[in-house]
Every structure is written in structure tokens, then in C-alpha cells.
Amino acid sequence: MSLRLPSHWAPYVLVSPFLILFAVFGLFPLLFSLWLAFQSWEPTSGIEAMKFVGLDNFVFALTDGWFWKALRNTLWLATASGVPQHLVALPLAVFLHQAFGRWRGLFSGAYFLPYITSTVAIAMLFGSLFSTDYGLVNQALHALFGTENINWMRSPQAIKPAVAIVVFWRYVGFNLVLYLAALQTIPHDLYQAAKLDGANAWQQFWRITLPGLKPMILFGVTLSIIGGMQLFEEPFILTNGKGGADQAAMTVAMYLYREAFDFSDFGGASALAWIMFGLIALLTWLTNQAFAERRAVA
């Protein structure tokens, strides 16, 4: 590098790619979307056709039955895929931490693998596994429990669990790895001392392990809430973008996509995005409050 410039410029040169890309593709779009949320506009009719409509888009979104349905779907899917993730990942992490020694990496890798795989490939595969007549899941259920074939992809009752299973499978390993990392920070002396005091394994788990994991539980649950409320790719691909039978797997992010790109209502979709943003912020805050209160009592 032979170019010489005053040395106090160097930091700004170094951060300039970030600043430029952030301004053009981060900040500006965000502000523009806030502005759009108060406009009525169809992109095909040109920028002049934009009209200020005040809070109309927000009122419309909040009185729109489809939005509430999509929100209920999202909450259902986020809960049904998110809660089991933590209930499974945490004990598994404890088992792995206690009993696996040098095989730990191999096993946690097996659980982690779905997280780095393409959603499309996964959704395609599960699409075939959940196939109605001769899919592997139905065949296995029939062989094990003698159940009738379930129309996974075409019945509104079955499509939600199907999507939740895929999401659970995809992210449980990520949480496992988080908990495993947190377990390694709990001092070993604590367990030694507890053992000397005659605490059994169960008591050690409740009195040492769980309190020690609390910050990571808060972090992991927060990530699951943020991710769950944004669910898009898995249900979108599994239902071919349409939301499935009776739109039972249409999430808010999918509804937002359809409103913008299928129905060309950019203003309405932007209002929806900001409503969801507020909701996610609120849920995150509530989670933090719940954990903080527990800590104060304990």
C-alpha cells in the first residue's frame, strides 16, 4: 500500500465500506419503510401516485382478519417449535457435558448440522417424508402405532405440527451448543462442594446447574422468540408460498411478503413490518423482565 494520506483519516477509510453499505442498504431502507407505512402506494403506478394516508395502514392491518390469523399461526408455530427446543437442548447439553468427554464434539456436531444446511434442501426432503400416501413418516407411524395416513401437507390441523417439527429439528442443535458452552463456565468446585455436603445429582442440577445457566437460558429464549416471530423460509417453502390448507401455516412474515409482492400493497406491508417490529421488541422486553424478577426473588 503506497498511498499516503493523513494518518487521522485512516480509521474513516477503514470503516467507510461499512458506512456506505449501511447507509444505502440498511439505514435508508429502514427510514424509507417507516415513511412508506404512512403512504398509500402501488409500485406499478410510479412514485407520484404515493399518497399520505396517516395511520390508515396501521388501522387496516390491526382490523384485518388475515393479520390476526397469521399472528395466531406465528405464535402457535413459534411456541410449538421453540419451547421443545429448550426443553430438549438443556438436558441433552447436561448429559453431553457430564458423560461424553472427548466424544462431545462429535455428538454436538450431529445435532448442530441441520442448522447450517440449506432450508430449501431441508424443506424439500421433509416434503417427501411427510407425503400423504407413501411418505416415510406415515409409513413409520402406521407400522409403529397402526395410525391412518395423515394428510400432513393438506390438512390445516396437520400442517402446523409438520412445520414445527422441521423448525425444531433445524434449531435444537444451536441451542444445545449454546448450553454446552455455558455449562463449561460453571466452576467445577461448586459441584465438589455440593457433593461433600451430600447433595445428589438432582439437587446439584436444580441448585447449581440451572441457576448457572440462567443467563444463557435468557439469551437462548430471546433468540428463539425473535427467530420464531420472523418464521418465513420453512413454512414458505413447505407450502409453496401459499400458507397451506386454510392458510394454517401462513406466518406474519409470509403474509407481509404476499401483501407486498402478490398484492402490491407496499404501504400496508410496511405498516405490518413495523407492527411486528414493535411486537418483537415488546416480547423481548417482557422476557427480560420475567427473568429479572425471578432473579430478584431468588
Binding site: R4, S118, V177
Partner: protein
């Protein structure tokens, strides 16, 4: 370690769980070698068959498949190269240099990590439209090339491995500030560059939402988008689809086997700090 029974129970549960986690991958590769109808045999196929080349043949007639693979590679490599450059530049500056607004700018970086993906869906489509970038590949690799996650990762690493004394010594020797970044800091940041490179390539390879919004013609599709377009035809070619999915997954499996420790540590870096 007196009680061995709970230990064996733990082995059993964790092992069975791991098999369940890996089974879908196994079936993906088994199905890739089966014909469209054999996939749904009773009982289902549990072992490999000889239909892989036929399935790939169907893929290449239905899609510009190898072109799609090529675009995925191209976008992945471009986004990796740019991300490594831009994030190491910014990360180094945030970690090692003093400048006005540094704190505020770094708070901005952290703030952008919190913005949900769907917030950007509509406005970034409009920006691409205004720039005339619809259906171009730079719309896929350029906007995310200075990712907040990457900058954060680079800053953490630089702060803990690049010694201030070394930088000061280079300054006294008359090395320019950019020269110090390029010739001294960057080589020291190699391990973190490797991690970030892996993460960036994988997420670009898998990216679905961005191409969905900006790409228009099948000739320009990346792999995930191309595979999905096969799904939407009325009679799904399951064998071909599984072969395509397996081809999309194989490079990731290889990367993961080679570097899982590094990858997992990098992807959870924000949590563990």
C-alpha cells in the same frame, strides 16, 4: 463416577437423538439414488440404488442446473471475499484505532444486528429496483458484505490478538496506517478470517429470501431458488429434487466435517463472548 447406570442412560438418549437428527440427511442421499416412484415404495427404500445419474439428467433438462450451481458458487465466493475485506477493515479500526464517533458507530453496528430480516424485505427490493439491480448477482453479495456480525467477530478477535506495541513499533518505523492494517494486523487475524469466511460462504450458499426477492430469470437463479422452482411444478420429480438437494448439501457436509469446531465457535461467538 460411582453410578454407571445414569451414565449409560445418558449415552443411550444422546446417541438415539443424534441418530434421529442425522436420519433425514441419510434419507436425502438414499432418495437421491432412487427413481421418482421408488421413493414412495412400501416399505420405503433404506439403501442406495442406481438412479442418481438419471435423476441428475432430469435436473439438467428441467433446470439450467449447472449454471445455477455456478451462480451459487460465484455469489458465495464474491460475498466471502468482500465480507472478509470490509469486516476486517472495520473490525480492526473499531478494535485498535481511536477516532471520533467510534462509540456511536459501533453502537450502530450492534443495533443493525437486531433488525429483523423482514423489515428490509420491501425497502431493499425498492433500492435494488431504483439502482437497476433486479435480477443481478451483485444485489445478492454486495448489500450484506459489511455485516454487523462479521464486524463484531473481527473486532473481538483483533482486540485480543493484535498487540498495540507491534502497531506502535510499525508506526515509528514509518509504516502508513493502512499499511499496518494490511501487512501486520490482517495476517494476525487469519484464524478469525477463516471462521468468518466459512460462515459467510455457507449463509450465502443457503440464502433463500434475498434471491427470492430480487432474482427473476431461471438462468440467473442460485441453487436454492432453482430447486424450489422444481417443487412448484404440478408433478414433482422427487428423485431429481432429492439429487439436487443432496448436491446442495454435500459441500456443506464436507466443510462441516473439516471445520465443525471452528464453525460452531464462530456462530455462537456473540453468545459466549
Amino acid at each position: 463416577m460411582t453410578k454407571s447406570l445414569p451414565k449409560y442412560a445418558a449415552y443411550l438418549i444422546v446417541g438415539a437423538g443424534a441418530l434421529i437428527m442425522l436420519a433425514p440427511f441419510y434419507f436425502m442421499f438414499v432418495f437421491a439414488t432412487q427413481s421418482r416412484t421408488d421413493i414412495f415404495n412400501v416399505p420405503p427404500p433404506l439403501w442406495f440404488n442406481g438412479e442418481l445419474l438419471n435423476n441428475i439428467g432430469v435436473l439438467t433438462t428441467r433446470l439450467p442446473f449447472w449454471k445455477n450451481v455456478g451462480w451459487s458458487l460465484y455469489v458465495g465466493l464474491m460475498s466471502t471475499a468482500l465480507t472478509l475485506l470490509f469486516c476486517s477493515m472495520a473490525g480492526y479500526a473499531f478494535a485498535m484505532l481511536e477516532f471520533r464517533f467510534k462509540k456511536a458507530l459501533f453502537a450502530l453496528v450492534m443495533g443493525t444486528m437486531m433488525v429483523p430480516a423482514f423489515m428490509n424485505m420491501i425497502p431493499s427490493f425498492m433500492v435494488m429496483d431504483a439502482l437497476g439491480w433486479i435480477d443481478t448477482h451483485r444485489a445478492l453479495y454486495l448489500p450484506g458484505a459489511a455485516s454487523a456480525f462479521g464486524i463484531f467477530l473481527m473486532r473481538q478477535f483483533a482486540a485480543s490478538t493484535v498487540p498495540h506495541e507491534l502497531i506502535n513499533a510499525a508506526r515509528i518505523d514509518g509504516c502508513s496506517e493502512l499499511g499496518i492494517y494490511w501487512r501486520i494486523a490482517l495476517p494476525l487475524m487469519k484464524p478469525a478470517l477463516g471462521t468468518l469466511g466459512l460462515i459467510t460462504f455457507i449463509s450465502s450458499w443457503n440464502n433463500f429470501m434475498n434471491p427470492l426477492i430480487v432474482m427473476r430469470t431461471a438462468e440467473n437463479y442460485t441453487l436454492p431458488l432453482a430447486l424450489r422452482s422444481l417443487f412448484s411444478t404440478t408433478s414433482t420429480e422427487w428423485g431429481a429434487l432429492m439429487a439436487g438437494s443432496a448436491i446442495a448439501t454435500l459441500p456443506l457436509l464436507v466443510l462441516f466435517v473439516v471445520s465443525s469446531r471452528q464453525l460452531i465457535a464462530g456462530l455462537t461467538a456473540g453468545a459466549v463472548k
